[in-house]
Symmetry: C2
Subunit: 335 residues, 2 copies
């Protein structure tokens, strides 16, 4: 008469007057069970409030019904990043209808890579989504080579094996931004780039350079680190060196807000004197004065694809190439 804990398959079987095996079949929707039997079992299940024991199931099936969302960077910015939030939403929406759970794996401190790798190797999850922005010695490479379905949230820098990844076309996005400034008649266009150890930093700078060069203009580049302070320093430096800029493409909205402040301090009007375009279309883009014209990324869709891809790979699909999505120019008041 042990009825502590949740009811087991055994108890359901007893109540329904069938064997454990049959109950298992019903639970797993095996097609070859008589409708009457199914009904009886389901009644018993409902009556007892039976829920399959995940551990027991995992033990035998060798599947855990869970996928990891890995953030292999102690960098706390990742979380405050609207990028992460948007992705997360897409991922969780897609995973929800599935039986799969989302396990959050974060590198708590610099250099604790091994912890993550060991966990992933330990068969605790069926697959993993890696959200990594920075180049990280060889951690990314090790992750990419794990014997586990894996997908990256961006083309991982420094990984030389083919991997599945989902990303936005950063080069094209930057091109759109700069071309738009061009279409506005701006001819002295500068950029505040992100760090070059991140695809987002690298590719957006490339896009800028391409367009500027194609238009026969001269480059004006300063580097920020995707933070407000870094953006501010970069903006100061850029306008010290190039006081006559009339167009500015900033590689992230956060840095763009800093640039806006710097311009205001220097008495330069936006967009009249300097037209500014950001990147991300995060909340901040609408909380500044003037509101930011920016490049939007379909974050939720990216997240959804990320989830779909791991799921597919877990299901046996072979996917080892990047998927690239388009960005969209959102015109507001700053350009």
């Amino acid at each position: 008469m042990k009825e502590s804990g949740s009811p087991t398959l055994e108890q359901v079987a007893a109540l329904a007057g069938v064997s454990r095996a049959t109950v298992s079949r019903v639970v797993n929707r095996s097609p070859k069970v008589l409708p009457d039997t199914v009904a009886a079992v389901e009644r018993a299940i409902g009556q007892l409030g039976y829920v399959p024991n995940r551990a027991a199931r995992a033990l035998v099936t060798r599947r855990t019904d869970s996928v990891a969302l890995v953030v292999p960077e102690p960098d706390s910015r990742v979380f405050s990043d609207p990028f992460f939030a948007g992705m997360l939403r897409g991922v969780s929406r897609t995973l929800a209808p599935t039986s799969s759970q989302l396990v959050l794996l974060i590198e708590p401190a610099e250099g604790d890579d091994q912890r993550l790798l060991r966990y992933l190797r330990g068969g605790h999850v069926d697959g993993a989504i890696i959200i990594s922005h920075h180049w990280r010695d060889n951690v990314l490479q090790e992750l990419a080579q794990l014997p586990l379905p894996i997908v990256f949230s961006a083309r991982p820098l420094g990984v030389d094996v083919p991997v599945a990844s989902v990303d936005v076309d950063n080069v094209a996005g930057a091109r759109t931004a700069v071309e738009y400034l061009l279409s506005l008649g701006r001819r002295k266009i500068g950029t505040i780039a992100g760090p070059l150890d991140m695809t987002a930093g690298l590719d957006r700078l490339t896009g800028y350079k391409e367009v500027v060069s194609e238009a026969g203009l001269t480059e004006a580049v300063a580097y920020g680190d995707f933070t407000a302070d870094g953006g501010e320093a970069a903006a100061q430096q850029l306008f010290d060196q190039h006081p006559d800029l009339d167009g500015l493409f900033v590689a992230s909205d956060l840095m763009a807000t800093a640039a806006l402040r710097v311009l205001s301090q220097r008495g330069r009007r936006v967009p009249q004197d300097v037209a500014v375009v950001g990147f991300d279309d995060s909340v901040m883009a609408t909380t500044t004065t003037p509101k930011l014209t920016t490049i939007r990324q379909p974050l939720e869709k990216l997240g959804a694809r990320l989830a779909e891809i791991v799921l597919a790979k877990i299901g046996g699909a072979e996917l080892t190439s990047p998927e690239i999505y388009d960005t969209e120019l959102i015109i507001r008041d700053s350009a």
Copy 2:
């Protein structure tokens, strides 16, 4: 000679020349094992790269070594909320050194409560942290009564059983904000409150009302919904009805940025004409012009406590009362 998959206790035992039980003891740090034996076993473990099988372990110990982070609201705003990000960081930092994993549980669509409850009841996690802001019919109450260690991220509205919770003193925080405006010589102070189905909305309004009433001033309240648009509408309405306000306390930074824009449109200077204080100290507080004076919440600490509390409860501690933390006034340029 089956060596597919990860190595098992059995294999480690064979290699180390001991029994499975002994290896198990070493793995679980049992004190009564000879140092020599320990060394031999550890060598074998290292050699094979053995990692305990979580499922097998969970099956027998009836512990899953994982705690759920539950967001029982389909409200997508939760993720973009810096509040969530900060908390998450604290939680994950605290959980990291533990063997516990963080499982993210999100209500994908309105009314899918049962899914969450079933999962939590299914013994899939050892405990749960509930991040809920809104009053939700009786879901919160059901969550609170689950036979599982649980802690809420804020005093859950409409729950009439004692529960463990961690929160900031919203009333005191709002009081600080309004008293600061008072100290600046402002006497016509209005507020943009949050929705009253959220503790944050309710308590911050209470704090405002207390101070205004104690100072013998008259109230001027408009309600927003913690979004930029809602904040804008509320600000418009507030200044339509009370054009002479010289002080404004806004229940969230996001809404405050909207208020700033409205004031700028109306040609009222901040802080000269109207001093504005926000709440949260989110990134946006520093991306506006002028930068926002606001009330900071120790988010990471709150998250850490949340994690510590579930862990303690899982360990058998009886904790069913709220913990309240102080806020801090961050003075910038808007007041």
